[in-house]
């Protein structure tokens, strides 16, 4: 507080000098405020630089990659052997692993997440919700490497009792565990969307004689559809970008299959596999992981755009 420290009752100060002193202090204060704002703006722009950095790095290395590997081969080749002498770069192989594991995960996360969201928002009492929701959120706080460990050493042996022919590394167990991990994301966002539906709509339904279930399914869910769609999209992009569960439990063998009972490599686990080895900077192998990363970014971008479109199409204005 610079002004407070100034003593305006000093005996030597004439009125004009006092005014000049105040004006000087005010200018100094304005300069300081301006400087602080610029510093804060710089901090806020870090996020923009991060995005620019990501796009720049991915594009720079991918362009170098595509000058070595024709883009047509990248999209149509059915083999993925970038580190062999007979190198093939068919992203389809990794894409298949990513899609089938995400599919298994979503088969768990979307039904369970939606049911939990409806239950918490329409059925559970205030006290139960206050306890259950944080408990559920703890699920998303567990590090993914630990889910991977759990999938490989607990879930896979359990599944092998049901399906004896299941290999030790498989998409199924990784996908199931990934699904449980995604439940909180789907449930929490869907529940927020349902809670945002105005009470008057529910009261209208109850007044017409609907039960809780009828109100939830016929009134609340359709009104909250845009938010629920956004929750699903978030779940999908989590599944597509998930790395460690797959790297640990799904094996790292590139395999062009959509069958979850087999082992397969995904885009993310391929990046881990390459990073674990010792690839020289600037080699084609090094560039491959950036091309794979770019494909992953584009895939999540597609889902995010779809989510944006869905949100606008089904938006309910109250």
């Amino acid at each position: 507080m610079a002004i407070a420290s100034h003593d305006p009752t000093a005996p030597s100060a004439t009125a004009a000098a006092k005014l000049a002193e105040f004006a000087r202090l005010k200018r100094a204060r304005q300069r300081r405020e301006r400087l602080i704002e610029l510093v804060l703006l710089a901090a806020a722009s870090v996020s923009v630089f991060t995005t620019v950095g990501i796009v720049f790095i991915l594009l720079r290395e991918s362009i170098a990659f595509f000058s070595n590997v024709p883009i047509w081969d990248f999209l149509t080749d059915t083999q993925w052997t970038p580190l062999f002498d007979d190198a093939h770069f068919g992203i389809m192989v990794l894409m298949a692993g990513t899609l089938s594991s995400s599919f298994v995960a979503l088969c768990v996360a979307i039904p369970l997440g939606t049911i939990i969201a409806i239950y918490l928002s329409e059925f559970a009492g205030y006290k139960a919700r206050e306890v259950l929701k944080p408990l559920l959120e703890l699920l998303s706080g567990v590090p993914t490497i630990i889910y991977g460990f759990f999938a490989l050493l607990v879930v896979t042996p359990a599944l092998q009792k049901i399906f004896p022919e299941l290999p030790g590394f498989n998409i199924l167990s990784a996908g199931l565990v990934m699904g449980v991990m995604i439940i909180p994301y789907v449930a929490s966002l869907s529940e927020d969307a349902m809670r945002a539906v105005p009470m008057s709509l529910r009261e209208g339904a109850y007044a017409m004689g609907s039960t809780r279930f009828q109100t939830a399914v016929k009134v609340v869910v359709p009104s909250a559809l845009s938010g629920i769609a956004a929750a699903y999209i978030l779940g999908i992009s989590r599944a597509v970008g998930e790395t460690m569960i797959l790297a640990v439990a799904a094996g790292m063998q590139p395999n062009l299959t959509l069958n979850p009972m087999e082992s397969a490599s995904t885009i993310t686990s391929f990046i881990v596999q390459v990073a674990l080895g010792d690839l020289p900077h600037g080699s084609v192998g090094y560039q491959t992981i950036f091309a794979a990363g770019l494909s992953l970014m584009l895939l999540t971008l597609v889902f995010n755009l779809a989510g944006y479109y869905l949100r606008n199409k089904y938006r309910e204005a109250y």
């Binding site: 507080m1 804060l40 901090a43 923009v48 991060t50 990501i54 259950l132 490497i145 460690m244 990073a275």
Partner: protein, 311 residues
């Protein structure tokens, strides 16, 4: 006909009520699947891991022999990386959030920054690893060091810190600001003397959630090429290096190779020998305990916050 109609109506209502009960049961069942998985995971780690949790486990370096292996280098590495992450992400995140919430005008620049933060929160963590590999490791030449890992994780949790801080600031009523301005406070004085004080618990919640995410993050750190077998500690300031005869400077540890807990767990999990899996379970138990207690603290803070502050 009237009593018949009533009977039919009653049957209809009973049927609808049954659906209510069935769905409530279904909801409870789904919730218990989720929560039981968490419990099973925790119990499995505890049962497999606790026998290995001796004091030596925390003071030994990783080893080829499972029974002698420990997590000394990885927990020290984790704490050092977290320090760098917190020192970068907390000030940057809070400052960015203050700008967006209190200073920003409604213009295209603000819109770009806001859309950016939303998008960054959805970017898979391994992409941050690629960014770090291309930018920090090779373009800036920071190498595969604690500094690189700390900066990478800082970028990763920045959206979490920013969002939490913004929410905390937004929940402060306008009259607090107006009262401060009326007393002649400048904008920074309002922010620093009033808003930051009121939003501290909210910001703290976001920071703890962010840090608990960062401490368990594996993929970006593997991507920057962190070694998995580290049998030495980063040089402490002033420590004498026996080979070169030089003492380490105050910040030499920033450039040191390192390993962190999740990477150690990954390394042990991917070995075929089941005795290493016990080590992995023990380390995983320690890590889960750390992240779950951090989350619990955050949830408790949020709960107290909602209970205590009534504007």
């Amino acid at each position: 006909m009237a009593p018949d109609k009533t009977l039919k109506l009653r049957a209809l209502i009973r049927k609808a009520r049954r659906f209510d009960i069935l769905f409530a049961l279904l909801g409870l069942m789904s919730l218990s699947i989720a929560i039981l998985t968490l419990a099973a995971l925790f119990v499995d780690m505890a049962v497999t891991g606790i026998p290995r949790l001796t004091p030596e486990f925390f003071t030994n370096f990783p080893s080829r022999r499972a029974a002698e292996a420990g997590i000394l280098s990885s927990w020290v590495g984790s704490i050092l990386v977290m320090m760098v992450t917190a020192l970068c992400a907390v000030p940057l995140g809070i400052a960015g959030a203050i700008y967006l919430e209190e200073y920003a005008r409604k213009n295209w620049l603000t819109a770009v920054i806001e859309i950016n933060i939303t998008n960054l929160a959805g970017v898979p963590s391994i992409i941050y690893g690629l960014l770090a590999l291309g930018l920090f490791v090779y373009t800036f030449g920071l190498g595969q060091s604690i500094l690189t890992a700390g900066l990478t994780l800082a970028l990763l949790i920045l959206p979490i810190v920013i969002t939490a801080t913004r929410e905390a600031l937004r929940s402060i009523p306008q009259h607090v600001r107006e009262a401060a301005y009326a007393c002649g406070a400048s904008q920074w004085q309002v922010v620093n003397d009033h808003l930051l004080k009121y939003s501290t618990p909210g910001i703290l919640t976001g920071v703890i959630i962010g840090m608990s995410r960062a401490i368990g993050e594996t993929a970006p750190i593997i991507t920057i090429g962190a070694l998995t077998f580290i049998a030495f500690l980063p040089p402490a300031p002033g420590q004498l290096n026996i080979e070169t005869g030089q003492t380490a400077g105050l910040f030499d540890w920033l450039w040191s190779p390192f390993t962190v807990m999740p990477i150690q767990i990954f390394n042990w999990t991917s070995r075929p020998d089941p005795r290493f899996h016990e080590n992995a379970a023990a380390a995983a138990f320690v890590l889960v305990l750390m992240t779950l207690s951090m989350n619990a603290i955050a949830i408790w803070l949020r709960y107290r916050l909602r209970k205590n502050i009534k504007w």
